[in-house]
Symmetry: C2
Subunit: 288 residues, 2 copies
Protein backbone atom coordinates (compact mmCIF):
# COMPACT_ATOMS: atom_id res chain seq x y z
CA UNK A 1 0.00 0.00 0.00
CA UNK A 2 2.85 2.31 0.94
CA UNK A 3 4.63 1.35 -2.25
CA UNK A 4 1.54 2.12 -4.32
CA UNK A 5 1.21 5.52 -2.68
CA UNK A 6 4.87 6.24 -3.31
CA UNK A 7 4.41 5.29 -6.99
CA UNK A 8 1.36 7.52 -7.25
CA UNK A 9 3.29 10.37 -5.67
CA UNK A 10 6.12 9.85 -8.11
CA UNK A 11 3.73 9.93 -11.03
CA UNK A 12 2.20 13.13 -9.70
CA UNK A 13 5.69 14.62 -9.39
CA UNK A 14 6.67 13.71 -12.95
CA UNK A 15 5.59 16.00 -15.77
CA UNK A 16 3.56 14.27 -18.47
CA UNK A 17 6.30 13.39 -20.98
CA UNK A 18 7.03 10.77 -23.57
CA UNK A 19 10.31 9.31 -22.38
CA UNK A 20 12.95 7.86 -24.67
CA UNK A 21 16.57 6.77 -24.90
CA UNK A 22 18.64 9.13 -27.02
CA UNK A 23 21.90 7.88 -28.53
CA UNK A 24 23.82 10.91 -29.82
CA UNK A 25 26.82 10.50 -32.14
CA UNK A 26 28.98 13.12 -30.40
CA UNK A 27 29.79 16.75 -31.28
CA UNK A 28 26.15 17.77 -30.96
CA UNK A 29 25.41 21.44 -31.49
CA UNK A 30 25.80 23.16 -28.09
CA UNK A 31 25.70 26.75 -29.26
CA UNK A 32 23.22 27.62 -32.02
CA UNK A 33 20.00 25.69 -32.56
CA UNK A 34 20.95 22.99 -30.01
CA UNK A 35 18.25 20.87 -31.63
CA UNK A 36 19.25 17.53 -30.16
CA UNK A 37 19.95 18.86 -26.68
CA UNK A 38 16.65 20.70 -26.82
CA UNK A 39 14.88 17.47 -27.73
CA UNK A 40 16.40 15.86 -24.65
CA UNK A 41 15.34 18.84 -22.53
CA UNK A 42 11.77 18.55 -23.92
CA UNK A 43 11.61 14.78 -23.40
CA UNK A 44 12.90 15.22 -19.85
CA UNK A 45 9.99 17.52 -19.02
CA UNK A 46 10.99 20.92 -20.40
CA UNK A 47 10.69 23.61 -17.72
CA UNK A 48 9.64 20.91 -15.27
CA UNK A 49 12.72 18.79 -16.06
CA UNK A 50 14.95 17.63 -13.22
CA UNK A 51 18.15 16.62 -14.97
CA UNK A 52 21.11 14.59 -13.73
CA UNK A 53 24.34 14.78 -15.71
CA UNK A 54 26.76 11.84 -15.53
CA UNK A 55 30.08 13.17 -16.83
CA UNK A 56 32.07 10.11 -15.67
CA UNK A 57 33.38 9.26 -19.15
CA UNK A 58 35.29 12.52 -19.17
CA UNK A 59 38.78 13.09 -17.79
CA UNK A 60 37.50 16.39 -16.48
CA UNK A 61 34.07 15.46 -15.24
CA UNK A 62 33.49 18.69 -13.35
CA UNK A 63 34.27 20.85 -16.40
CA UNK A 64 32.09 18.66 -18.62
CA UNK A 65 29.32 18.56 -16.03
CA UNK A 66 29.26 22.34 -15.80
CA UNK A 67 29.06 22.77 -19.59
CA UNK A 68 25.88 20.68 -19.81
CA UNK A 69 24.47 22.09 -16.57
CA UNK A 70 24.73 25.62 -17.96
CA UNK A 71 23.08 24.56 -21.24
CA UNK A 72 20.06 22.90 -19.60
CA UNK A 73 19.72 25.69 -17.00
CA UNK A 74 19.82 28.20 -19.85
CA UNK A 75 16.98 26.27 -21.51
CA UNK A 76 14.96 26.62 -18.31
CA UNK A 77 15.15 23.21 -16.62
CA UNK A 78 13.71 23.14 -13.11
CA UNK A 79 16.93 21.65 -11.70
CA UNK A 80 20.23 20.37 -13.05
CA UNK A 81 22.79 18.44 -11.03
CA UNK A 82 25.79 16.41 -11.89
CA UNK A 83 27.13 13.24 -10.40
CA UNK A 84 30.73 13.02 -9.25
CA UNK A 85 31.78 9.40 -9.29
CA UNK A 86 35.41 8.57 -8.61
CA UNK A 87 35.19 4.91 -7.62
CA UNK A 88 32.87 1.96 -8.19
CA UNK A 89 31.76 1.82 -4.52
CA UNK A 90 29.73 5.00 -5.03
CA UNK A 91 27.64 3.16 -7.60
CA UNK A 92 26.69 0.67 -4.90
CA UNK A 93 25.45 3.29 -2.42
CA UNK A 94 21.71 2.64 -1.82
CA UNK A 95 21.10 6.34 -1.04
CA UNK A 96 22.50 7.35 -4.41
CA UNK A 97 20.31 4.72 -6.08
CA UNK A 98 17.22 6.11 -4.35
CA UNK A 99 18.14 9.63 -5.48
CA UNK A 100 17.61 8.59 -9.11
CA UNK A 101 13.84 8.55 -8.52
CA UNK A 102 13.73 12.32 -8.38
CA UNK A 103 15.14 12.87 -11.89
CA UNK A 104 13.19 13.09 -15.14
CA UNK A 105 16.26 13.07 -17.39
CA UNK A 106 19.77 11.63 -17.20
CA UNK A 107 22.47 12.81 -19.59
CA UNK A 108 25.77 10.91 -20.01
CA UNK A 109 28.60 12.97 -21.50
CA UNK A 110 31.38 12.01 -23.89
CA UNK A 111 34.91 11.02 -23.00
CA UNK A 112 36.08 7.43 -22.80
CA UNK A 113 33.50 4.67 -22.64
CA UNK A 114 36.00 2.37 -20.89
CA UNK A 115 36.38 4.87 -18.04
CA UNK A 116 32.59 5.27 -17.83
CA UNK A 117 31.95 1.52 -17.68
CA UNK A 118 34.88 0.75 -15.39
CA UNK A 119 33.20 3.06 -12.88
CA UNK A 120 29.57 2.20 -13.47
CA UNK A 121 28.81 -0.96 -15.49
CA UNK A 122 26.96 -3.62 -13.52
CA UNK A 123 26.57 -1.44 -10.39
CA UNK A 124 23.26 -1.18 -8.51
CA UNK A 125 23.11 2.46 -9.63
CA UNK A 126 23.04 1.42 -13.30
CA UNK A 127 20.57 -1.39 -12.56
CA UNK A 128 18.28 1.18 -11.02
CA UNK A 129 18.76 3.52 -13.97
CA UNK A 130 18.01 0.70 -16.43
CA UNK A 131 14.89 -0.19 -14.52
CA UNK A 132 13.65 3.44 -14.59
CA UNK A 133 14.41 3.67 -18.32
CA UNK A 134 12.54 0.44 -19.04
CA UNK A 135 9.53 1.65 -17.06
CA UNK A 136 9.54 4.93 -18.98
CA UNK A 137 10.17 6.89 -15.79
CA UNK A 138 12.87 9.08 -17.29
CA UNK A 139 14.57 10.06 -20.54
CA UNK A 140 18.16 8.87 -20.87
CA UNK A 141 20.63 10.42 -23.31
CA UNK A 142 24.25 9.54 -24.01
CA UNK A 143 26.56 11.36 -26.38
CA UNK A 144 29.76 9.97 -27.93
CA UNK A 145 31.23 7.65 -25.23
CA UNK A 146 27.90 7.99 -23.41
CA UNK A 147 26.16 6.60 -26.52
CA UNK A 148 28.74 3.86 -27.12
CA UNK A 149 28.05 2.53 -23.60
CA UNK A 150 24.28 2.13 -24.14
CA UNK A 151 24.41 -1.44 -25.46
CA UNK A 152 25.19 -4.63 -23.57
CA UNK A 153 28.12 -5.15 -25.91
CA UNK A 154 30.19 -2.01 -26.39
CA UNK A 155 32.82 -0.95 -28.91
CA UNK A 156 35.82 0.27 -26.92
CA UNK A 157 38.16 0.92 -29.83
CA UNK A 158 39.17 -0.19 -33.27
CA UNK A 159 40.67 0.79 -36.58
CA UNK A 160 39.70 2.05 -39.99
CA UNK A 161 41.34 1.94 -43.41
CA UNK A 162 41.19 -1.86 -43.41
CA UNK A 163 38.60 -4.47 -44.31
CA UNK A 164 36.46 -5.84 -41.47
CA UNK A 165 38.28 -8.46 -39.39
CA UNK A 166 38.05 -9.84 -35.86
CA UNK A 167 41.05 -7.67 -34.93
CA UNK A 168 39.57 -4.45 -36.31
CA UNK A 169 37.35 -3.87 -33.29
CA UNK A 170 37.74 -4.07 -29.51
CA UNK A 171 34.67 -4.98 -27.51
CA UNK A 172 33.73 -4.73 -23.85
CA UNK A 173 30.71 -4.81 -21.56
CA UNK A 174 28.48 -1.75 -21.72
CA UNK A 175 25.70 -0.43 -19.49
CA UNK A 176 23.00 -2.55 -21.16
CA UNK A 177 20.42 0.22 -21.46
CA UNK A 178 19.47 -0.94 -25.00
CA UNK A 179 20.77 -4.51 -24.90
CA UNK A 180 19.76 -5.51 -28.44
CA UNK A 181 22.07 -3.02 -30.19
CA UNK A 182 25.76 -2.18 -30.55
CA UNK A 183 26.19 1.58 -30.88
CA UNK A 184 29.07 3.30 -32.65
CA UNK A 185 29.45 7.08 -32.80
CA UNK A 186 31.34 9.81 -34.72
CA UNK A 187 30.40 7.27 -37.32
CA UNK A 188 30.93 8.40 -40.90
CA UNK A 189 33.06 11.25 -39.55
CA UNK A 190 35.68 8.71 -38.45
CA UNK A 191 34.98 6.05 -41.11
CA UNK A 192 33.77 3.44 -38.65
CA UNK A 193 31.52 1.21 -40.75
CA UNK A 194 34.19 -1.50 -41.11
CA UNK A 195 34.64 -1.70 -37.33
CA UNK A 196 30.88 -1.77 -36.72
CA UNK A 197 30.52 -4.61 -39.24
CA UNK A 198 33.37 -6.40 -37.43
CA UNK A 199 31.49 -5.98 -34.12
CA UNK A 200 28.26 -7.28 -35.64
CA UNK A 201 30.08 -10.26 -37.20
CA UNK A 202 31.11 -11.17 -33.64
CA UNK A 203 27.56 -10.58 -32.32
CA UNK A 204 25.15 -11.56 -35.09
CA UNK A 205 22.19 -11.44 -32.67
CA UNK A 206 22.67 -7.66 -32.32
CA UNK A 207 21.73 -4.74 -34.53
CA UNK A 208 24.53 -2.30 -35.38
CA UNK A 209 23.67 1.39 -34.96
CA UNK A 210 26.25 3.86 -36.33
CA UNK A 211 25.50 7.47 -35.44
CA UNK A 212 27.14 10.49 -37.08
CA UNK A 213 28.16 13.61 -35.22
CA UNK A 214 25.36 16.07 -34.30
CA UNK A 215 22.89 13.27 -35.01
CA UNK A 216 20.67 11.26 -32.70
CA UNK A 217 18.95 7.89 -32.80
CA UNK A 218 15.98 8.39 -30.49
CA UNK A 219 14.63 5.07 -29.21
CA UNK A 220 10.91 5.43 -28.47
CA UNK A 221 9.33 3.01 -26.02
CA UNK A 222 7.06 1.61 -28.76
CA UNK A 223 10.06 0.19 -30.67
CA UNK A 224 10.49 3.05 -33.12
CA UNK A 225 13.86 4.69 -33.71
CA UNK A 226 13.50 8.31 -34.81
CA UNK A 227 16.40 10.14 -36.43
CA UNK A 228 17.26 13.75 -35.55
CA UNK A 229 20.11 15.96 -36.66
CA UNK A 230 22.57 16.77 -39.38
CA UNK A 231 24.04 13.39 -40.33
CA UNK A 232 22.87 9.83 -40.77
CA UNK A 233 22.13 6.86 -38.58
CA UNK A 234 23.34 3.65 -40.20
CA UNK A 235 21.62 0.41 -39.23
CA UNK A 236 23.51 -2.83 -39.89
CA UNK A 237 21.12 -5.77 -39.69
CA UNK A 238 22.75 -9.22 -39.94
CA UNK A 239 19.61 -11.30 -39.40
CA UNK A 240 19.31 -12.38 -43.04
CA UNK A 241 22.98 -13.23 -43.37
CA UNK A 242 23.44 -16.78 -44.58
CA UNK A 243 27.21 -17.08 -44.77
CA UNK A 244 30.25 -15.92 -42.84
CA UNK A 245 33.81 -17.18 -42.48
CA UNK A 246 34.02 -15.71 -38.94
CA UNK A 247 34.74 -18.99 -37.18
CA UNK A 248 37.21 -20.24 -39.77
CA UNK A 249 39.68 -17.38 -40.22
CA UNK A 250 42.48 -15.79 -38.22
CA UNK A 251 42.00 -12.65 -36.18
CA UNK A 252 43.52 -10.33 -38.79
CA UNK A 253 42.08 -12.10 -41.86
CA UNK A 254 39.39 -10.29 -43.84
CA UNK A 255 35.86 -11.31 -42.93
CA UNK A 256 33.32 -12.63 -45.41
CA UNK A 257 29.66 -11.96 -44.60
CA UNK A 258 26.73 -12.27 -46.97
CA UNK A 259 23.39 -10.48 -46.96
CA UNK A 260 23.92 -7.73 -44.43
CA UNK A 261 21.03 -5.32 -44.65
CA UNK A 262 22.04 -1.69 -44.45
CA UNK A 263 19.69 1.24 -43.83
CA UNK A 264 20.94 4.81 -43.99
CA UNK A 265 18.50 7.13 -42.28
CA UNK A 266 18.48 10.89 -41.84
CA UNK A 267 16.51 13.60 -40.04
CA UNK A 268 12.84 12.71 -39.82
CA UNK A 269 13.22 9.04 -40.82
CA UNK A 270 12.02 6.23 -38.57
CA UNK A 271 12.98 2.58 -38.17
CA UNK A 272 10.60 0.08 -36.62
CA UNK A 273 12.64 -2.29 -34.46
CA UNK A 274 9.82 -4.85 -34.26
CA UNK A 275 8.99 -4.95 -37.97
CA UNK A 276 12.64 -4.34 -39.03
CA UNK A 277 11.36 -1.74 -41.45
CA UNK A 278 12.05 1.85 -42.39
CA UNK A 279 8.97 4.05 -42.04
CA UNK A 280 8.28 7.07 -44.20
CA UNK A 281 9.22 10.52 -42.97
CA UNK A 282 7.42 11.89 -39.98
CA UNK A 283 5.96 15.28 -40.76
CA UNK A 284 5.78 16.67 -37.24
CA UNK A 285 9.50 17.27 -36.83
CA UNK A 286 10.95 20.75 -37.21
CA UNK A 287 13.30 21.02 -40.20
CA UNK A 288 17.00 21.08 -39.40
CA UNK B 1 33.39 -17.74 -95.93
CA UNK B 2 36.53 -15.65 -95.66
CA UNK B 3 35.30 -14.33 -92.30
CA UNK B 4 34.68 -17.87 -91.05
CA UNK B 5 38.18 -18.91 -92.07
CA UNK B 6 39.64 -15.89 -90.33
CA UNK B 7 37.70 -16.77 -87.15
CA UNK B 8 38.88 -20.36 -87.32
CA UNK B 9 42.46 -19.16 -87.78
CA UNK B 10 42.10 -16.90 -84.76
CA UNK B 11 40.77 -19.75 -82.65
CA UNK B 12 43.68 -21.91 -83.74
CA UNK B 13 46.12 -19.12 -82.79
CA UNK B 14 44.62 -18.67 -79.33
CA UNK B 15 45.62 -21.00 -76.53
CA UNK B 16 42.72 -22.84 -74.92
CA UNK B 17 41.99 -20.54 -71.96
CA UNK B 18 39.06 -19.47 -69.84
CA UNK B 19 38.97 -15.73 -70.33
CA UNK B 20 37.71 -13.27 -67.73
CA UNK B 21 37.62 -9.61 -66.74
CA UNK B 22 39.77 -8.93 -63.68
CA UNK B 23 39.09 -5.80 -61.62
CA UNK B 24 42.04 -5.30 -59.24
CA UNK B 25 41.83 -2.88 -56.33
CA UNK B 26 45.33 -1.42 -56.82
CA UNK B 27 48.64 -2.07 -55.03
CA UNK B 28 48.66 -5.69 -56.15
CA UNK B 29 51.69 -7.70 -55.11
CA UNK B 30 54.32 -7.23 -57.84
CA UNK B 31 57.29 -8.76 -56.05
CA UNK B 32 56.64 -11.88 -53.98
CA UNK B 33 53.82 -14.32 -54.76
CA UNK B 34 52.31 -12.03 -57.43
CA UNK B 35 49.18 -14.13 -57.09
CA UNK B 36 46.78 -11.80 -58.87
CA UNK B 37 49.18 -10.88 -61.67
CA UNK B 38 49.92 -14.58 -62.07
CA UNK B 39 46.21 -15.32 -62.37
CA UNK B 40 46.01 -12.75 -65.17
CA UNK B 41 49.06 -14.31 -66.84
CA UNK B 42 47.43 -17.77 -66.61
CA UNK B 43 44.06 -16.55 -67.88
CA UNK B 44 45.81 -14.79 -70.78
CA UNK B 45 47.36 -18.07 -71.90
CA UNK B 46 50.38 -18.59 -69.65
CA UNK B 47 53.52 -19.21 -71.70
CA UNK B 48 51.44 -18.78 -74.85
CA UNK B 49 50.12 -15.40 -73.67
CA UNK B 50 50.45 -12.39 -75.95
CA UNK B 51 49.90 -9.45 -73.63
CA UNK B 52 49.19 -5.79 -74.36
CA UNK B 53 49.69 -3.28 -71.57
CA UNK B 54 47.68 -0.04 -71.66
CA UNK B 55 49.45 2.33 -69.25
CA UNK B 56 47.51 5.42 -70.41
CA UNK B 57 46.10 6.20 -66.94
CA UNK B 58 49.62 6.87 -65.72
CA UNK B 59 51.48 10.17 -65.93
CA UNK B 60 54.54 8.16 -66.84
CA UNK B 61 53.08 5.55 -69.17
CA UNK B 62 56.45 4.32 -70.44
CA UNK B 63 57.78 3.71 -66.93
CA UNK B 64 54.55 1.97 -65.90
CA UNK B 65 54.43 -0.03 -69.11
CA UNK B 66 57.96 -1.31 -68.58
CA UNK B 67 57.23 -2.39 -65.00
CA UNK B 68 54.39 -4.67 -66.09
CA UNK B 69 56.21 -5.77 -69.25
CA UNK B 70 59.14 -7.00 -67.15
CA UNK B 71 56.80 -8.83 -64.74
CA UNK B 72 54.91 -10.73 -67.46
CA UNK B 73 58.11 -11.44 -69.41
CA UNK B 74 59.64 -12.77 -66.22
CA UNK B 75 56.63 -15.08 -65.84
CA UNK B 76 57.29 -16.40 -69.33
CA UNK B 77 54.69 -14.75 -71.57
CA UNK B 78 55.21 -15.34 -75.28
CA UNK B 79 55.12 -11.61 -76.01
CA UNK B 80 54.45 -8.41 -74.06
CA UNK B 81 53.95 -5.00 -75.66
CA UNK B 82 52.65 -1.72 -74.42
CA UNK B 83 50.51 0.87 -76.09
CA UNK B 84 51.60 4.48 -76.20
CA UNK B 85 48.54 6.65 -76.61
CA UNK B 86 48.97 10.41 -76.42
CA UNK B 87 45.81 11.64 -78.14
CA UNK B 88 42.32 10.37 -78.86
CA UNK B 89 42.92 10.13 -82.62
CA UNK B 90 45.15 7.10 -82.09
CA UNK B 91 42.16 5.26 -80.63
CA UNK B 92 40.37 5.76 -83.93
CA UNK B 93 43.13 4.24 -86.07
CA UNK B 94 41.70 1.14 -87.81
CA UNK B 95 45.15 -0.51 -87.96
CA UNK B 96 45.52 -0.23 -84.20
CA UNK B 97 42.05 -1.70 -83.76
CA UNK B 98 42.96 -4.65 -85.98
CA UNK B 99 46.12 -5.21 -83.95
CA UNK B 100 44.01 -6.08 -80.89
CA UNK B 101 43.11 -9.42 -82.50
CA UNK B 102 46.60 -10.76 -81.92
CA UNK B 103 46.50 -10.35 -78.11
CA UNK B 104 45.27 -12.88 -75.56
CA UNK B 105 45.44 -10.49 -72.58
CA UNK B 106 45.12 -6.74 -72.09
CA UNK B 107 46.28 -5.13 -68.83
CA UNK B 108 45.30 -1.54 -67.90
CA UNK B 109 47.56 0.07 -65.31
CA UNK B 110 46.76 2.47 -62.49
CA UNK B 111 47.06 6.24 -62.53
CA UNK B 112 44.13 8.56 -63.12
CA UNK B 113 40.92 7.13 -64.56
CA UNK B 114 39.99 10.55 -65.96
CA UNK B 115 43.18 10.65 -68.04
CA UNK B 116 42.57 7.07 -69.22
CA UNK B 117 38.99 7.75 -70.27
CA UNK B 118 39.73 11.18 -71.77
CA UNK B 119 42.09 9.37 -74.14
CA UNK B 120 40.15 6.18 -74.78
CA UNK B 121 36.48 6.14 -73.73
CA UNK B 122 34.08 5.71 -76.64
CA UNK B 123 36.86 5.26 -79.22
CA UNK B 124 36.71 2.51 -81.87
CA UNK B 125 39.71 0.91 -80.11
CA UNK B 126 37.72 0.47 -76.91
CA UNK B 127 34.66 -0.72 -78.86
CA UNK B 128 36.83 -3.38 -80.43
CA UNK B 129 38.29 -4.30 -77.03
CA UNK B 130 34.81 -4.54 -75.51
CA UNK B 131 33.66 -6.75 -78.35
CA UNK B 132 36.67 -9.10 -77.91
CA UNK B 133 36.03 -9.24 -74.14
CA UNK B 134 32.35 -10.02 -74.64
CA UNK B 135 33.20 -12.80 -77.10
CA UNK B 136 35.67 -14.28 -74.63
CA UNK B 137 38.54 -13.71 -77.03
CA UNK B 138 40.88 -12.26 -74.44
CA UNK B 139 41.33 -11.68 -70.71
CA UNK B 140 41.12 -8.04 -69.65
CA UNK B 141 42.54 -6.77 -66.36
CA UNK B 142 42.51 -3.29 -64.87
CA UNK B 143 44.16 -2.24 -61.62
CA UNK B 144 43.31 0.85 -59.57
CA UNK B 145 42.32 3.52 -62.16
CA UNK B 146 42.24 0.71 -64.73
CA UNK B 147 39.63 -1.05 -62.57
CA UNK B 148 37.64 2.12 -61.84
CA UNK B 149 37.22 2.63 -65.60
CA UNK B 150 35.67 -0.81 -66.23
CA UNK B 151 32.04 0.25 -65.67
CA UNK B 152 29.86 2.40 -67.88
CA UNK B 153 29.51 4.80 -64.96
CA UNK B 154 32.84 5.56 -63.31
CA UNK B 155 33.82 7.11 -59.99
CA UNK B 156 36.31 9.87 -60.77
CA UNK B 157 36.73 11.22 -57.26
CA UNK B 158 35.02 11.81 -53.97
CA UNK B 159 35.40 12.21 -50.24
CA UNK B 160 35.35 10.20 -47.05
CA UNK B 161 34.74 11.05 -43.41
CA UNK B 162 31.20 12.19 -44.23
CA UNK B 163 27.83 10.49 -44.63
CA UNK B 164 26.79 9.56 -48.17
CA UNK B 165 25.45 12.52 -50.14
CA UNK B 166 25.10 13.48 -53.80
CA UNK B 167 28.18 15.71 -53.41
CA UNK B 168 30.35 12.99 -51.88
CA UNK B 169 31.14 11.37 -55.21
CA UNK B 170 32.12 12.56 -58.69
CA UNK B 171 31.00 10.44 -61.61
CA UNK B 172 32.00 10.22 -65.25
CA UNK B 173 31.74 7.95 -68.26
CA UNK B 174 33.90 4.84 -68.12
CA UNK B 175 34.99 2.29 -70.72
CA UNK B 176 31.84 0.18 -70.34
CA UNK B 177 33.61 -3.19 -70.21
CA UNK B 178 31.29 -4.39 -67.39
CA UNK B 179 28.39 -1.98 -67.84
CA UNK B 180 26.19 -3.28 -65.01
CA UNK B 181 28.62 -2.35 -62.20
CA UNK B 182 30.30 0.69 -60.66
CA UNK B 183 33.79 -0.22 -59.48
CA UNK B 184 35.67 1.48 -56.67
CA UNK B 185 39.21 0.55 -55.66
CA UNK B 186 41.71 0.98 -52.77
CA UNK B 187 38.37 0.44 -51.11
CA UNK B 188 38.56 -0.18 -47.37
CA UNK B 189 42.15 1.12 -47.47
CA UNK B 190 40.82 4.59 -48.28
CA UNK B 191 37.44 4.29 -46.52
CA UNK B 192 35.39 4.54 -49.70
CA UNK B 193 32.14 2.79 -48.80
CA UNK B 194 30.27 6.08 -48.27
CA UNK B 195 31.26 7.33 -51.73
CA UNK B 196 30.34 4.02 -53.38
CA UNK B 197 26.92 4.13 -51.68
CA UNK B 198 26.56 7.71 -52.95
CA UNK B 199 27.36 6.52 -56.49
CA UNK B 200 24.86 3.67 -56.23
CA UNK B 201 22.17 6.01 -54.87
CA UNK B 202 22.62 8.00 -58.09
CA UNK B 203 22.56 4.81 -60.21
CA UNK B 204 20.23 2.35 -58.48
CA UNK B 205 20.22 0.07 -61.54
CA UNK B 206 23.92 -0.67 -60.98
CA UNK B 207 25.74 -2.97 -58.58
CA UNK B 208 28.52 -1.38 -56.52
CA UNK B 209 31.79 -3.31 -56.39
CA UNK B 210 34.38 -2.05 -53.90
CA UNK B 211 37.76 -3.75 -54.21
CA UNK B 212 40.51 -3.59 -51.59
CA UNK B 213 44.19 -3.32 -52.42
CA UNK B 214 45.95 -6.52 -53.57
CA UNK B 215 42.49 -8.00 -54.16
CA UNK B 216 40.69 -8.92 -57.36
CA UNK B 217 37.09 -9.39 -58.43
CA UNK B 218 37.40 -11.82 -61.32
CA UNK B 219 34.33 -11.70 -63.58
CA UNK B 220 33.84 -15.08 -65.24
CA UNK B 221 31.88 -15.24 -68.48
CA UNK B 222 29.20 -17.42 -66.80
CA UNK B 223 28.19 -14.57 -64.48
CA UNK B 224 30.25 -15.61 -61.46
CA UNK B 225 32.51 -13.18 -59.64
CA UNK B 226 35.43 -14.95 -57.98
CA UNK B 227 37.45 -13.22 -55.28
CA UNK B 228 41.25 -13.45 -55.13
CA UNK B 229 43.76 -11.80 -52.86
CA UNK B 230 44.41 -10.35 -49.44
CA UNK B 231 41.44 -8.07 -48.84
CA UNK B 232 37.72 -8.05 -49.46
CA UNK B 233 35.41 -7.28 -52.32
CA UNK B 234 32.31 -5.43 -51.11
CA UNK B 235 29.13 -5.73 -53.15
CA UNK B 236 26.48 -3.04 -52.66
CA UNK B 237 23.17 -4.23 -54.11
CA UNK B 238 20.37 -1.63 -54.11
CA UNK B 239 17.76 -3.71 -55.93
CA UNK B 240 15.66 -4.36 -52.80
CA UNK B 241 15.78 -0.77 -51.65
CA UNK B 242 12.30 0.59 -51.09
CA UNK B 243 13.00 4.13 -49.94
CA UNK B 244 15.43 6.93 -50.65
CA UNK B 245 15.34 10.70 -50.25
CA UNK B 246 17.74 11.11 -53.23
CA UNK B 247 15.41 13.23 -55.35
CA UNK B 248 14.21 15.39 -52.46
CA UNK B 249 17.39 16.62 -50.78
CA UNK B 250 20.16 19.08 -51.56
CA UNK B 251 23.52 18.00 -52.97
CA UNK B 252 25.32 18.09 -49.63
CA UNK B 253 22.44 16.74 -47.51
CA UNK B 254 22.83 13.26 -46.03
CA UNK B 255 21.18 10.54 -48.08
CA UNK B 256 18.58 8.13 -46.73
CA UNK B 257 18.43 4.70 -48.39
CA UNK B 258 16.68 1.63 -47.02
CA UNK B 259 17.44 -2.04 -47.60
CA UNK B 260 20.80 -1.96 -49.28
CA UNK B 261 22.18 -5.47 -49.40
CA UNK B 262 25.86 -5.70 -48.56
CA UNK B 263 28.09 -8.71 -49.21
CA UNK B 264 31.67 -8.79 -47.98
CA UNK B 265 33.62 -11.45 -49.80
CA UNK B 266 37.20 -12.65 -49.46
CA UNK B 267 39.66 -15.00 -51.15
CA UNK B 268 37.90 -18.04 -52.56
CA UNK B 269 34.35 -16.67 -52.26
CA UNK B 270 32.06 -16.37 -55.28
CA UNK B 271 29.07 -14.19 -56.13
CA UNK B 272 26.55 -15.24 -58.75
CA UNK B 273 25.55 -12.12 -60.69
CA UNK B 274 22.48 -13.83 -62.19
CA UNK B 275 21.11 -15.31 -58.96
CA UNK B 276 22.38 -12.36 -56.82
CA UNK B 277 23.74 -14.91 -54.37
CA UNK B 278 26.96 -15.67 -52.58
CA UNK B 279 28.25 -19.15 -53.33
CA UNK B 280 30.25 -21.23 -50.90
CA UNK B 281 34.02 -21.29 -51.10
CA UNK B 282 35.61 -22.79 -54.16
CA UNK B 283 38.11 -25.41 -53.15
CA UNK B 284 40.33 -25.32 -56.22
CA UNK B 285 42.00 -22.02 -55.45
CA UNK B 286 45.49 -21.93 -53.98
CA UNK B 287 45.53 -20.46 -50.45
CA UNK B 288 46.86 -16.93 -50.14
Amino acid sequence: MLQLESELNQQRMRPSIKTAVMAIGGAEDKIRGRQILHSFFDRAGSTKARILIIPSASREPEVMGRIYRDIFKDMGALSVEFLSISDRQQGEDPKLCDCLDQFTGVFMSGGDQIRLCDLLAETPLMEKLRSLVQQGQLTLAGTSAGAAALGQQMITGGGSGEPPSRDLVDLGIGLGMIPQVIVDQHFHNRNRLARLISAIAANPDKLGIGIDEDTCALFERDGLIQILGRGTVTIVDPRQSTYTNYAQVGASDPLSISNLRLHLLSHGDCYDLHKCKVRSKRVNLPPI
